[in-house]
């Protein structure tokens, strides 16, 4: 039975009222007294030597207060990569400095080399145009293959464009090679995972406020993880003591990964605010977002699948070139490796896996985690090569997948790629999918399409992902430079209502609704009496923010642990109030009772007693009712799912339309099914966007051709079908107290191969000998494939 509040209830999102009424408070809404404006001078060339920068004319322009160049930051640190990856030979990755402002060289179009601070944005912009930079353009390094073979380097000091050459798992390499050499059948596929621009609705914005009286700073910024931003600025870049820097991320209008990272603009406004002793603000234009937000994906991969004569999978072997752009963004080294290579078993029982990833510097914007982060790339390679194998061997793609699924009685299952899948039931998921997909009805629908002159195709996939990256001690051995726990403080106020300060950050995920459902359920209080506080380092405990579908599994678990402490302390107080002992006190539905008696006290009475401790066991416990818990999970969680899609292709134009789409996911236990459904819908829209519409294009000179919405195609409502979403298969995670898994990225991970598989199926059914088309499957590309 669906509940109407607490865990499992489809409670409407309370935050939506302010978002929909335009009363949200975003960074750019913040206005500070005496504020000034920063505008950046950005490189128009992809690669060039900065010979001189003359700022004298700009400095004389009206309203100009200060001008900064890279020279102002030579003595501060670089923005680091958060993860150290070693090459196969044990060499550490190449890690060239990423400065606040470009110094010596500009390395991509949009690379900032100077900044003007002025009284108005207009004045700052006028002055930025008067900065006279003599930049000697060099040939751009764009194509990854040429970057690896050439002698023209993005970073001259490292004398290579290869960041690392990573093998996973190196000890499995030989066995995998042998399995492929001796296999009955090997299917090979070369593919590109197209580069994407994140396009959060709210552009990045950073405002710095320096208080000279206390020598402290406040940074308002569009961040998915304010504590991590503070740590990076304090420990690596500017050296501001952590206790002198508050980072506030108020309402944030979408991130999709691009706002995980610390960017140079944040450091610039902080340094400028201190120098001029006034607040300094900057908001990206949409053009700046296109040029400088960390992009996503951009892999070129060759994958091989080896099968025995009975169609059992023997081995997956992949060679990938991963573009990291001009500088290492914070998660850029973990995304194509740990978040990609470890997932190369998919949902399958396969004894041999070897993954080789070469990360390549190019004169393009940095590339980093974007919704799914490594897992979409892994899933796409696997699910495309499996479909191609089914074609080559004339097998039913669903039957081939089912045959090789890890079976429900095999969990926990350690894959050849090193992960320990705790629980799952992939056949049950596929059962649900086949039910919704109405496969029997496909032939009839295909006939109807054909009567209308359209080709119709059916595509399917299955996916596994790993969420809530953990545990800290394991990832430490894999190169992580941070821990990946999270934290929550439960503050029960004297009047019984509750403030929960969390390390996770909500920028569309609905935490303000879902987290109170947990608290309300555990404490037996009205969820409306629970307030979530996030996004302010001066208010919340040190948490790691929101990305990788981790908030519920990790921060939600910290909330559970915190509430358990609250209940334990409440029992002590209640025992005193009822003249009993705490081990005789039960707590249920908001009431403390002495077992075997009719004595009770309410949760609210206990809260009041904690803050007005006139008659209180002060010798045993402290007054107040506030607890903090840090939670470091023991394992990833492993959401899994299977998706099906039917497309129509217009053979005259190559235009693809999605006619049906069904998604069956196992997210473990579900706190709010409505929010889960919304997250899946959003993920599907992004994945379908990648499959059919979105493609970031640099030309050979390194100019960003798709630098605006005139040339970069975002998915629109009319591009999408009505989704059927099913999450009735629920195998609760065994590694967190809520049994939850995470749902934020699933849709974006599972949908691209589903769509491409369906289009290939449609084209082949019309006699076209096509086994692969690279995304996005625009009408032009599909038509070109049909017409060679």
């Amino acid at each position: 039975m669906p509940k109407d509040s607490g865990i499992g209830a489809a409670t409407r999102r309370r935050e939506d009222a302010r978002f929909l009424l335009g009363s949200g408070r975003y960074s750019d809404d913040i206005v500070l007294l005496n504020q000034t404006y920063a505008v950046f001078a950005r490189s128009e060339v992809a690669n060039g030597i900065i010979k001189t920068i003359n700022t004298s004319e700009a400095e004389k322009m009206p309203g100009v207060i200060a001008v900064f160049t890279g020279d102002d930051f030579v003595d501060v640190g670089g923005n680091p990569a958060g993860w150290l990856i070693n090459s196969r030979d044990g060499e550490p990755m190449k890690e060239p400095k990423r400065p606040v402002l470009a110094h010596g060289k500009v390395r991509h179009v949009g690379d900032a080399y100077a900044a003007v601070i002025a009284e108005t944005e207009q004045q700052a912009r006028d002055a930025a145009e008067k900065i006279n930079a003599d930049i000697m353009e060099l040939p751009a390094i764009i194509d990854m293959t040429s970057a690896l073979s050439g002698s023209n380097y993005v970073h001259d000091e490292i004398e290579t464009n290869q960041c690392f050459d990573w093998g996973w798992i190196e000890d499995n390499r030989e066995a995998t090679d042998n399995a492929i050499k001796n296999a009955h059948h090997v299917t090979t596929l070369e593919l590109t995972n197209n580069r994407l621009v994140p396009n959060a609705m709210e552009p990045r914005c950073s405002i710095a406020d320096y208080n000279a009286a206390n020598d402290d700073y406040t940074l308002y910024t569009t961040s998915q993880n304010p504590h991590l931003t503070r740590l990076l600025i304090s420990a690596f870049v500017l050296g501001i003591p952590e206790n002198k820097l508050t980072v506030v991320s108020p309402d944030v209008g979408g991130g999709f990964g691009s706002k995980i990272y610390h960017y140079g603009e944040e450091a610039l406004v902080l340094a400028a605010a201190k120098r001029i002793k006034r607040p300094v603000r900057w908001t990206a234009s949409r053009s700046e977002s296109f040029m400088t937000d960390a992009h996503g994906r951009d892999h070129v991969t060759k994958i091989e699948l080896a099968l025995d004569k009975d169609n059992n999978f023997l081995a997956f072997r992949t060679e990938t070139m991963a573009n990291v752009g001009a500088y290492l963004s914070n998660f850029s080294t973990v995304t194509p490796t740990i978040l990609h290579g470890t997932l190369m078993a998919g949902n399958y029982s396969v004894p041999n896996i070897y993954v080789n990833v070469k990360a390549v510097f190019t004169n393009t914007a940095p590339v980093d985690a974007y919704r799914g982060a490594g897992r979409p790339e892994a899933t796409y390679s696997l699910e495309r090569v499996i479909d191609k194998a089914a074609l080559e061997l004339n097998l039913d793609p669903i039957a081939l997948r089912r045959q090789n699924f890890i079976k429900s009685d095999q969990f926990p299952y350690v894959t050849a790629a090193g992960l320990n899948y705790d629980v799952g039931d992939y056949d049950a998921i596929m059962d649900r999918l086949e039910h919704h997909a109405d496969i029997k009805g496909f032939a009839e629908r295909k006939k109807i399409s054909e009567k209308q002159g359209k080709l119709r195709g059916f595509g399917v996939n299955s996916y596994i992902e790993a969420c809530g990256i953990a545990p800290s001690n394991l990832i430490g051995t894999l190169g992580a430079r941070v821990g990946l726990y999270d934290a929550a403080t439960i503050r029960v106020n004297a009047t019984g209502n509750i403030s929960v300060m969390v390390g996770a950050h909500s920028h569309g995920q609905g935490h303000e609704t879902a987290f109170p459902q947990i608290v309300a359920d555990m404490l037996g209080v009205d969820p409306n009496n629970v307030e979530i506080v996030h996004g302010d380092t001066s208010k919340i405990p040190f948490g790691m923010g929101t990305y990788g579908s981790r908030s519920l599994a990790v921060c939600g678990s910290a909330i559970v642990r915190g509430i358990e402490k609250i209940i334990a302390k409440g029992k002590k107080i209640a025992a005193h109030m009822m003249e009993s002992t705490e081990d005789n006190v039960d707590f249920e539905d908001g009431v403390f009772s002495v077992r075997g008696t009719n004595k009770t006290v309410s949760f609210g009475d206990v809260a009041l007693k904690a803050y007005i401790p006139h008659n209180f066991p002060i010798e045993d416990i402290e007054p107040g009712l506030e607890e903090t818990a840090f939670y470091d999970p023991q394992n990833f969680t492993y959401p899994a799912g299977a998706y099906a899609c039917e497309v129509e292709v217009d053979p005259n134009t190559g235009k693809v339309s999605i006619e049906r789409f069904a998604a069956a996911d196992d997210f473990g236990n579900i706190i709010n099914p409505m929010i889960v459904e919304g997250q899946v819908h959003g993920g599907l829209a992004q994945g379908i966007g990648q499959a059919l519409l979105e493609g970031c294009v640099y030309n050979d000179d390194g100019q960003l051709i798709s630098g605006s919405y005139m040339d970069y195609t975002m998915p629109r409502a009319a591009d999408l079908p009505s989704f059927v979403v099913d999450h009735t298969v629920q195998t609760p995670s065994t590694d967190n107290p809520l049994g939850v898994k995470g749902c934020g990225e699933a849709g974006a991970i599972g949908s691209p191969p589903t769509v491409v598989n369906a289009v290939i199926n449609a084209l082949r059914s019309a006699g076209h000998d096509i086994t692969h088309i690279d995304m996005p499957l625009t009408p032009a590309r599909v038509w070109a494939a049909m017409n060679n």
């Binding site: 134009t653 519409l693 798709s706 009408p779």
Partner: protein, 262 residues
């Protein structure tokens, strides 16, 4: 955007006067000029808005049966007018989004002559007459290549006079990102002739596909152009479509225009 002076005349003569000042530019619906100015790619010293000139707005039927559309008439107004023939209604109601249609004007679109804009195809196909403050220009003479027209500096389009075809259709294959025409085909069938104008496809801007016109004059059917091959050279090739694909789409969309003409 750079600073500029803004003028909002109420009459055509005031507008013409205002446009005489140095570096003055006329502003119609602003759907191209304003974004260009925001990117600092255009910087007129004076912007003369035509939007308050009531004599430039509106749609009327002339005695000879033709239709006159004021240069300042918005796409939304054209789409909603019952006097307009079917192809032109379809065209107007599929330009951009509601915000664009409520601001953008037919005069602005024709004067700008974007190679992917929709209106040039309608004007050229229907053999419209562009009426300016100083003369009348036939559509065949008006369009002179990408962003080039017969308009003189400071000349304003007051209205556009459309002969009404007995059958018409506009078939647009959208560029996926911008939703401009990747290929747009406007077909107008009159008693004596059929005219086919193509937008979005050519490096020379809007053009008449005369080979198709001749064939359709002989035999107004899809089949009459099935065997035509349009030469890809001269077509636009970009990240959205190759020259070959655009040439192919011209034929596909022309056939659809023939089939759907009403």
């Amino acid at each position: 955007m750079y600073n500029f002076e803004f003028k909002q005349p109420k009459t055509i003569s005031e507008a013409l006067n205002a446009l005489k000042s140095d570096e003055a530019e006329a502003l119609a619906g602003g759907q191209t000029l304003i974004p260009t100015m925001k990117q600092r790619l255009a910087s007129p010293a004076t912007l003369v808005s035509l939007s308050k000139i009531s004599e430039m707005r509106g749609i009327c039927k002339n005695d000879d049966g033709s239709i006159s559309i004021g240069g300042g008439t918005t796409h939304a107004d054209v789409a909603a007018n019952s006097n307009i023939f079917p192809g032109l209604v379809t065209l107007a109601e599929n330009i951009g989004d509601p915000a664009v249609r409520n601001r953008g004007t037919i005069g602005g679109s024709l004067a700008n002559n974007d190679p992917a804009a929709c209106y040039p195809a309608a004007a050229l196909s229907a053999g419209a007459t562009i009426v300016t403050d100083s003369r009348e220009i036939s559509a065949d003479d008006f369009f002179q290549g990408m962003f080039e027209t017969a308009l003189e500096e400071s000349e304003i389009i007051l209205s556009v006079r459309f002969p009404v075809p007995s059958l018409s259709s506009y078939q647009k294959f959208v560029q996926p990102a911008s939703r401009f025409a990747m290929v747009g085909v406007f077909l107008s069938k009159f008693e004596n002739e059929t005219r086919v104008a193509i937008t979005g496809a050519s490096e020379e801007g809007v053009f008449r596909w005369k080979e198709a016109e001749r064939a359709l004059n002989e035999d107004f059917s899809e089949g009459s152009i099935t065997d035509f091959v349009l030469e890809p050279s001269g077509m636009i090739g970009d990240i959205h479509a190759s020259k070959e694909y655009r040439a192919h789409l011209v034929k596909v969309m022309t056939k659809r225009a023939v089939k759907s003409a009403s």
